[in-house]
Symmetry: C2
Subunit: 219 residues, 2 copies
């Protein structure tokens, strides 16, 4: 049973305290994560407008003020959701990049992956790109890091396309912004105007396969 075997070298006071500190630290982080998970869930279900601290707290059985021991305020909590969302988004983009070896087809594949992520996570996508654009100006945030990383993927693809000739010889940045606008617009229409008619988004997305139109098999 419990004390049938005794530790021949009992832990020092210092060791006990350290273990206790770690346990408490872990519990604190666990609760922080539980709040964050509950918050992300509430945000998904309710959207930004009906997202409330009290609702998040009640979801995990704490009073609302407890959240303020783990997050400075509502904005801080939403920024944590933003960081998490942008991280998942950047990962999805990198995976879609790695999945398609042909550079010219890669652009279309990434475009599709972009739109699919957006419409699959409508409320989070809107938080990322619509509702608090100024939060991305904080360059030290994880969100800003992922934001610049994904734009970098697009810009590199465009530069490659221009240099390889399967994109017109223009300034890459405006062209990248133009393409970004297209996928961003598809997501936004997909989660608003086309919400009741997903086939309409699918039909529009077939145009991703149109460019490059001429060389089915190079050489």
């Amino acid at each position: 049973m419990a004390h049938s075997e005794e530790n021949p070298i009992p832990p020092t006071e210092r060791q006990v305290r350290e273990a206790s500190r770690q346990r408490r630290e872990g519990e604190k982080q666990a609760l922080r994560q539980a709040i964050l998970d509950a918050a992300s869930e509430v945000f998904l279900e309710k959207g930004l407008e009906s997202f409330s601290m009290r609702l998040v707290a009640s979801k995990i059985g704490y009073s609302a003020t407890t959240i303020y021991h783990h997050f400075k305020n509502k904005e801080d909590l939403l920024r944590a959701i933003l960081d998490q969302s942008f991280g998942e988004f950047a990962q999805a983009m990198q995976e879609s990049l790695a999945a398609e070896p042909d550079p010219s087809r890669r652009m279309g594949a990434m475009g599709k992956a972009y739109v699919r992520f957006g419409v699959a996570h409508p409320t989070h996508y809107q938080l990322m790109y619509n509702q608090r654009p100024d939060w991305l100006l904080d360059e030290s945030s994880l969100a800003a890091e992922a934001y610049h990383l994904t734009y970098g993927l697009l810009l590199e693809g465009v530069k490659e396309g221009v240099s390889q000739g399967w994109l017109p010889p223009t300034d890459p940045r405006p062209l990248a912004d133009w393409m970004w606008a297209t996928v961003h617009g598809l997501v936004m229409l997909g989660i608003t105007e086309f919400r009741e008619d997903p086939d309409r988004l699918e039909a529009a997305m077939t145009l991703f396969d149109l460019a490059p139109p001429s060389h089915e098999v190079p050489q």
Copy 2:
């Protein structure tokens, strides 16, 4: 002076009452319009999030509850703003259509006009297309009417382009949706990510002049 000339036929009791009724009706409509104007102003300055009935009322020197004699509730008031905004938008689109006679150039001109309207009226544009998409499902509203009208203009242009050969021979609707997504995305990026850098939007918008690229002067 005032009574130097007397009306030879004094108004009947009935006429007086009718005039009074009309005056009161006019005053009611005037206050309704004053509320609507103030609301649109508050909405422009504060955005949807900080738009409040009390703020609108205080702007015109009435108590908040007065608004409820002229609008059913906050949603009703915002819908009135939406109707007004969509009407102005549809008019701007029709003017841009009339201004450019060449059909192939017209698409680019309308695209530019679309984006310019959106970035010029950021908060109203977001109410129109982002924040309450379900309100457009009420087909009897002025907003829905203008919404379908503007989409019709785009779709007709695309059909014309396909039949005349300066657009690829594809199903017009997905192509129209694709183009819509592009301009919509440009507006959204323009009022969020590019807000601090208007030149970036301008640079992207130069691509409107790229298509059709080949025939500067037909024949």
